[in-house]
Symmetry: C2
Subunit: 338 residues, 2 copies
């Protein structure tokens, strides 16, 4: 298999990443591909925009006065900055629940500054620190609103997860019997679908008029708009998702997933893009995403936005004292699908 991304040290190749890309329109037509666009893939957190749909369609979002920042946080793999922790707590408190109900576990904030602050001040860890705390708060909100016991909302048989499974199948046009699953890092089911189906989900976000079910269509529009309106709630400081949405200013919505998955909605063209790095390494992911955008012409259509993200496109490898010693280079060539 040909490399998708090469890592160079000086003039020589040091490491190589292989991977897969699918570009799809909202009718599910495969437009462009690299590698295996059918690759069965755990999108992990790249599913979050779809997992948030029942929060809106159930009425929980209205009941608990969720604004754009709240909904964006429901789709987030956030940095664990103070603003993210506080908002996750606020959503949960509006539902009358406490952190004790959250099943996401916890970890050090991803943002280095917040991480060091937490260690320095000995701030106590809560589940709000989990990069998934917004998603979990949304799941709890849905259960509470519908009068379900939120306890155990993370289990596959709980109505919260059943609704999400149905939504994922609908948004990605994947028959239920083709969806397998494992447990995600935050203890909820992680579904596995072909990569092109993930791209279709993002195409439906990009072009929601194609969604027949009106409440779902409105929910998708509201969620995508929320992500784009408050991108700092979807990730945070120095994070690709936030920087991408900010740079393309309403045109693109993007979401990362663990093990190097990415989904993008291009609202101008009404297409969805999905990327999976075979080995799960994030350093190859954003470089690939940027190269896909370039080959789709976004460097010419939005030169300023594209240029502002150059450090994600061909990241410089630096030595410990900051000297440039290498480069991460995407080398894929999108092929038009038949």
């Amino acid at each position: 298999m040909q490399p998708m991304v090469v890592v160079k040290r000086g003039e020589e190749v040091e490491s190589r990443h292989i991977g897969h890309v699918a570009v799809v329109d909202s009718d599910g037509r495969l437009l462009y591909e690299w590698g295996d666009p059918e690759r069965p893939t755990f999108p992990r957190s790249a599913m979050k925009p779809f997992q948030a749909i029942p929060v809106v369609t159930s009425g929980a979002a209205d009941r608990f006065h969720m604004d754009d920042a709240d909904l964006a946080l429901c789709c987030a793999s956030h940095n664990g900055e103070e603003r993210h922790r506080a908002r996750a707590q606020s959503i949960l408190e509006r539902t009358g629940q406490t952190a004790a109900v959250l099943a996401c576990g916890t970890h050090l904030p991803r943002d280095p500054e917040s991480q060091q602050e937490v260690i320095r001040k000995g701030i106590e860890f809560t589940p709000y620190f989990s990069n998934c705390s917004g998603k979990h708060a949304g799941m709890v909100a849905t259960a509470v609103h519908l009068g379900e016991d939120p306890e155990g909302y993370e289990r596959p048989e709980h109505p919260v997860q059943q609704r999400i499974l149905e939504t994922v199948c609908d948004m990605t046009a994947t028959p239920r019997e083709q969806v397998s699953w494992g447990v995600d890092g935050c203890n909820v089911p992680a579904h596995r679908i072909p990569l092109r189906n993930l791209a279709l989900g993002f195409a439906q976000m990009a072009d929601p008029v194609s969604i027949g079910d009106k409440p779902v269509r409105r929910a998708v529009e509201r969620i995508t708009s929320a992500m784009i309106a408050v991108p700092e709630m979807v990730a945070g400081k120095n994070r690709f998702c936030t920087d991408l949405m900010r740079a393309f200013n309403g045109r693109l919505a993007g979401k990362v997933g663990a093990e190097a998955v990415y989904g993008i909605s291009d609202r101008q063209r009404g297409i969805g893009i999905a990327v999976k790095v075979e080995d799960g390494t994030q350093r190859a992911l954003y470089a690939t995403v940027m190269e896909v955008l370039r080959q789709l012409g976004l460097d010419r259509e939005e030169p300023e936005a594209f240029r502002s993200l150059a450090s994600y496109h061909q990241p410089v490898v630096k030595s410990m004292s900051g000297q440039a010693v290498g480069k991460i280079l995407p080398v894929l060539e999108l092929k038009r699908s038949d």
Copy 2:
């Protein structure tokens, strides 16, 4: 290319790593292989045992009273624990130099406990924190002992690096014109050689009687013994190099390199093993090394040692709350070389 390691979530494959293995005897015969045993590879820190040879052959090790722990630290990618920092400083001070001469840069200690302590107490960063500080102290020691200006010892044209290049060529039987180079993370030249030549270097460490040059032979014996005698100086707490050498108690010497490279000397059989994960991801490296040892029969020959390293062989993937949700499984099958 077939995967070398698969990462499973539940019963399904989530990610795959490809890679390369060479098993070589001290005559340079390729015994076993996987992937491409000739792959041009930057061994990075897996070269450190060879880079330390001139410290001994020059007489610097004797002049500055370097004991086993000092020499082990010269071969280390250490954790930045207090014991590592203190010893790097001690070596350097014995040469009459200060940290100002060190070109390695610095970074947070790799050991999480030391890392948190440094942040909590606001301890000032010095180059001693660099995982390469022992190697750099050894380089400086050689220059000082030989009356060379240590300033600029990191540059390829400095005699320190010229001696190392010659040593690398000799130990790995690589003609000088076949060695290309880039700059390492710690600013010294990083040489690039075929993977099987790296394995040969480790085979010569395993079976040094084959080394014609007596002072080099003695230096190799002394360095290998030092690594094995004080393995906690080669890496540190909860590190594979340290745990491997401790478990196999004199039989194996092992050294990791950045971008997922590993070299092992099996002193009982007199063979060398080299591994490179194509994508540079460390999680696939130790699993591969353990599986190679298993296929070479070390699980039967040293069952207790092998069993004590089980968590490196098939690491469990855990959710944020510690639930086992997947597994990292080496799936390579060594092939006998013709």
